[in-house]
Symmetry: C2
Subunit: 240 residues, 2 copies
DNA sequence: TTCCTGTGAACTGTTGACAGTTGTCAGTTG
DNA sequence: CAACTGACAACTGTCAACAGTTCACAGGAA
């Protein structure tokens, strides 16, 4: 019963909540492509539920920024234009720079040590096999966790998910991952020294590199977000 | 037709969307008290709709942080504990400090001048009548707007709404409002000089003062957020 | 040919009813 | 008197059907 109630802490016992999670995985996992339309009747029947709980789950994913709804036309997996991605990276910078400041003051040495070992494990796994981005976002989220602010954590998680979706519009760039791990290590080292100035400076540069890489990988044209790469993009997203 | 289509940009033409707006006003306006339970059948019938669109609106307000849903027990207006409010102010700091940095680099002199005149108007109106917080959040949101980042704007708006709800749990403190206007003026002055360092420092202090005032006004006990003062907060402004 | 128009299928928005859960309260037992 | 138990009422979760809108396509006019 212990691990059962553990799982039930999030009370995944209504169709609506379960569907939200399934839908999010489908969106972030790529089984629903950016721009693709969600057909309510077919999706509901394939999930074995009715349209009511499905629509409630859709509403929540709209608030999360993963879906877009146009009245009387349906729900679409969100697409991102180049300026929107730049905006998201700026927002991410606002959140994570503050997280660095807070973590520098609040994180215990033990917590930072845990982060270092996780980082070392990641580096090891990357050297053996070479997956493209082996849990890359996990480091940032764990760092934000050390800031000890749940509201900040929720916002950061939401931005990460949106950027993760935006990134799924692009090809992967494994070369960037290796540099990122090094930069993560430098950042943690500064945190251990409690050097706020240097830590925030490192994070700023790190996020700049990350954004440049993402933008380049996306291969988006100048103004609006028409994807023209290999991905079979069927829909263009709407306006705000 | 022009102003009609202007209004229709947000396409408030489905019950679900209209209900979301109405519910938000009820929560922020105080006609639904923090901690109060929302009875779906009575609320739906009083709004003249069925439970479907109402439930969809509730889901979105849950994502916004204004409501809480407990499975099989219902939706409740969110209450805030003291540490949650501190967290929200920290998050607000992260967002608005970054907004100050961006605005310092991007806002045009004309835009800053507009902000100054708005501020002067507010000061005038405060001297004549003395409302407690005359559009206090408006200044901050307009400032964030000058950062030219819609994602940042959305996050800041969401935090503002949650803090607005938290504040409705408290009595009002008109004395703080006057000091706030002065601090706003100082901040805009630094923005006009494009002095990022001083501007962010001012904003940091300003938010600290604001948080101290809010915490003191809330008079919350140590741990949880049981609302104990009943102030009927009249209006909160609506969306953009 | 090109553009306009109207018709119909497909889909979303909404509703009312049914099913399952929760909380209450009277009745009972120690 | 206190604690437990079981049934009832109220409410939420879910479903299937109806209503209104959108989109595509066939047919006709310029």
């Amino acid at each position: 019963m212990s691990e059962y109630s553990q799982k039930r802490l999030l009370s995944r016992n209504t169709f609506s909540e379960a569907t939200e999670s399934v839908l999010r995985d489908m969106v972030l996992g790529g089984s629903l492509q950016p721009g693709e339309r969600l057909n309510e009747v077919s999706l509901a029947s394939s999930l074995g539920i009715s349209r009511g709980p499905l629509r409630e789950a859709i509403q929540r994913l709209v608030s999360e920024g993963l879906l877009t709804v146009i009245s009387h036309r349906g729900a679409f997996v969100r697409t991102f234009s180049r300026p929107e991605i730049v905006e998201l990276y700026e927002l991410r910078g606002a959140l994570e720079l503050h997280a660095v400041r807070l973590a520098c003051a609040r994180a215990t040495d033990a917590e930072l040590e845990d982060l270092e070992t996780m980082l070392a494990d990641t580096a090891d796994r990357m050297r053996d096999t070479d997956p493209a981005y082996p849990q890359e976002p996990d480091f940032h989220l764990r760092l934000v966790l050390l800031a000890g602010n749940q509201a900040l954590m929720r916002s950061a998680l939401e931005v990460q998910r949106q950027l993760s979706l935006a990134r799924s519009m692009s090809a992967q760039r494994p070369t960037r991952a290796r540099a990122a791990v090094v930069e993560h290590g430098d950042l943690v080292a500064m945190l251990r020294r409690r050097d706020v100035e240097e830590a925030t400076a490192l994070m700023t540069r790190h996020l700049d590199h990350s954004m440049d890489s993402a933008i380049a990988a996306l291969g988006l044209p100048g103004g609006d977000g028409k994807p023209e790469g290999d991905t079979r993009q069927n829909r263009s997203e709407n306006d705000i």
